[in-house]
């Protein structure tokens, strides 16, 4: 592996190699980010449910 340019060039297969790695990166990133975002929303909803129950039981 001589230079950085050579590394990027991938012996002429750059478009194949880097598009594959790009798709994988995108798919794995989404697979992690989506459940994390869902968790934040769930926590909000559950907090609201618990608060509603508490306020209705105290009346």
């Amino acid at each position: 592996m001589g230079s950085f340019n050579e590394f990027i060039h991938m012996g002429g297969y750059a478009s194949y190699v880097w598009s594959s790695y790009g798709i994988v990166l995108l798919a794995f990133g989404l697979s992690i980010i989506l459940p994390l975002r869902e968790k934040r929303q769930l926590e909000k909803r559950i907090r609201r449910i618990i608060q509603n129950e508490q306020s209705s039981s105290s009346e």
Binding site: G11, Y16, V17, S20, I23, V24, S31, P35, E43, I46
Partner: protein, 247 residues
């Protein structure tokens, strides 16, 4: 001792707490494995004498293909546990494996296609390996569709478990397809019983990447399972306690 552990693991609060403690460790190990595996595969490993640098797609294609089958076996195994013992956690592992299993299968197909173009001269052939892998993708999508079509989630899990178990016949077909039928797809390089026909500098990054993918699967399935569990048990005492403690 082991039975007690399995029994405890089946308890939602215990599973939730344990998985929460495990996740940071799993994430750290997973990142290290990906970093070393990618460096070894993209930088240190020599170019292939026939395929040049295009062979480097192997480091994402082969682990994804292995995972597509591994995740399916986990689904079938959890399905059997869910059917026999009605363990809620098994149902949750089963259904929350389907998304990431479909992702791995999709990636195996797409990266294989991108690799096939310069090496075989075509994006796709209807041979046994590619067709059975495509069938696997449809099995995952079928599991997801069936689950979302049934409102009662316990019933849905049982239906999905049966579908997952029936689909297991496809797994040996995928694995042996390159030996049973002649094809453009190359034969197994790693899982031959004699010496693997691959340079050690190429092999070690591949194994690192394979283990990294296993960790990634564990992380994604735990994240999803925890969300699922939290929502299903939202009216239970342990969830209320969890939120009272300000977490």
């Amino acid at each position: 001792m082991i039975m007690r552990f399995i029994y405890q693991l089946g308890s939602p609060p215990y599973f939730y707490a344990l998985s929460g403690r495990l996740l940071p460790w799993l994430s750290g190990i997973c990142l290290i494995l990906f970093a070393t595996g990618l460096y070894g595969g993209l930088v240190l490993a020599p170019a292939d004498y026939q395929q040049g640098d295009s062979f480097r797609i192997i480091y994402i294609h082969v682990p994804a293909a292995w995972m597509s089958m591994f995740v399916y076996m986990v689904m079938a195994f959890s399905g059997a546990m869910a059917l026999i013992w009605r363990i809620k956690i098994a149902e949750i592992i089963l259904i929350n494996s389907a998304h990431i299993g479909a992702v791995f299968t999709f990636l195996a197909l797409v990266t294989g296609s991108i690799w096939g173009k310069p090496m075989w001269g075509t994006w796709w052939v209807w041979d046994a390996r590619l067709t059975s892998e495509l069938l696997l993708l449809f099995l995952y999508l079928g599991v997801l569709a069936l689950y979302s079509a049934i409102d009662d989630k316990r019933k849905a899990a049982r239906a999905v478990a049966i579908l997952a178990l029936v689909g297991v016949v496809n797994i040996p077909i995928i694995h042996y397809s390159v030996e049973w039928w002649s094809t453009l797809h190359q034969g197994p390089t790693i899982t031959k019983f004699d010496k693997p026909s691959i340079d050690t500098r190429m092999l070690i990054p591949l194994l690192l990447m394979a283990v990294a993918h296993k960790f990634l699967y564990a992380i994604v399935v735990l994240l999803r399972a925890r969300n699922d569990l939290l929502w299903r048990e939202r009216r239970s005492q342990w969830v209320a306690t969890l939120f009272k403690d300000g977490s």
